[in-house]
């Protein structure tokens, strides 16, 4: 059951990424291009995504997930260097090509050789970050 719903969530996420234009690097770089020909589409994507998710969080109070287990614990409030520095590195790479992790995975079937090269480099980066992560980030923090 968990697998079926995980598949459905992943599929709906991927469909949303394609429909919204998040897997189109021109649109993403257009959104980040505030000093050029700015494209505001991604504001609608983020706004549209936050709305249902904001409602969903209100249902987690003193309840348990449908398939059992527990909801994620309250978010950490600690803002630290890995968070800030990692986000800066991530943003720089996101701007360079216009792909973040979700869309990079969702577009694997139609992203061609460029998409494959980016994806493999991203995997390599994630593996390379593992030793740094173990030192810097306390375990049990949700991704």
């Amino acid at each position: 059951m968990r697998g079926i719903f995980a598949f459905l969530a992943g599929g709906l996420f991927g469909a949303g990424l394609l429909v919204s234009g998040m897997t189109d690097t021109r649109k993403v770089q257009g959104w980040l291009d505030i000093f050029g020909d700015w494209d505001p589409t991604l504001a609608f994507v983020l706004g549209g995504a936050i709305l249902p998710m904001g409602i969903a969080w209100t249902f987690t109070h003193k309840r348990t997930p449908v398939l059992g287990g527990t909801f994620p614990s309250r978010p950490e409030r600690r803002v630290d260097w890995p968070l800030a520095g990692g986000s800066l590195l991530f943003g720089a790479g996101w701007g360079l090509v216009g792909l973040c992790p979700g869309p990079a995975i969702a577009s694997l079937s139609y992203g061609g050789l460029s998409g494959a090269v980016f994806f493999i480099a991203m995997i390599a980066g994630m593996v390379a970050a593992a030793p740094m992560r173990r030192r810097l980030i306390p375990s049990g923090m949700p991704g």
């Binding site: 991604l42 701007g95 980066g125 593996v127």
Partner: protein, 141 residues
């Protein structure tokens, strides 16, 4: 007339609904970098199958949709140096920050997480600077 914002909002609602489904049914935060990264460094050992099923849906459904639409394109650069540098930056950065656009942006901001908000401000800022420098100043993208 630009209908792009309608598709943006519609796709955004689909993304948010997917995140809501994964949270309320499976009890998990829908963060792409965390779900993939956890498989790579072993931190996601306890729920491997769930992560793999999510990633399978994330690849297969857009593939079918793109096929039905007569193809889709990412319009990504073909510059191999740019692709490899960007991929490494995204991989390392999202794992150090413990989240990306979906985890910090969608799931974090929607629960008013300070970390999610700060991360999103930092990666949006860096993304803007990156496009400014590499597109307008250096002209490489």
């Amino acid at each position: 007339m630009q209908p792009d914002w309608i598709f943006g909002a519609l796709g955004g609602l689909m993304i948010g609904t997917a995140a809501a489904l994964f949270l309320l049914v499976n009890g998990r935060v829908m963060g792409a970098s965390g779900i993939l990264g956890g498989l790579l460094d072993g931190s996601g050992r306890t729920n491997r199958a769930e992560r793999l099923a999510f990633l399978a849906g994330l690849v297969i459904i857009p593939a079918l949709l793109a096929l039905g639409m007569g193809g889709a394109q990412t319009h990504a650069t073909t510059n191999i140096t740019v692709l490899i540098s960007a991929g490494l930056l995204v991989g390392i950065g999202t794992r150090l920050a413990n989240g990306c656009t979906s985890g910090h942006g969608v799931c974090g901001i929607s629960r008013l997480s300070l970390r999610g908000l700060v991360a999103t401000m930092f990666y949006l800022f860096a993304g803007g600077i990156s496009v400014l420098v590499f597109r307008h100043l250096l002209g490489v993208i």
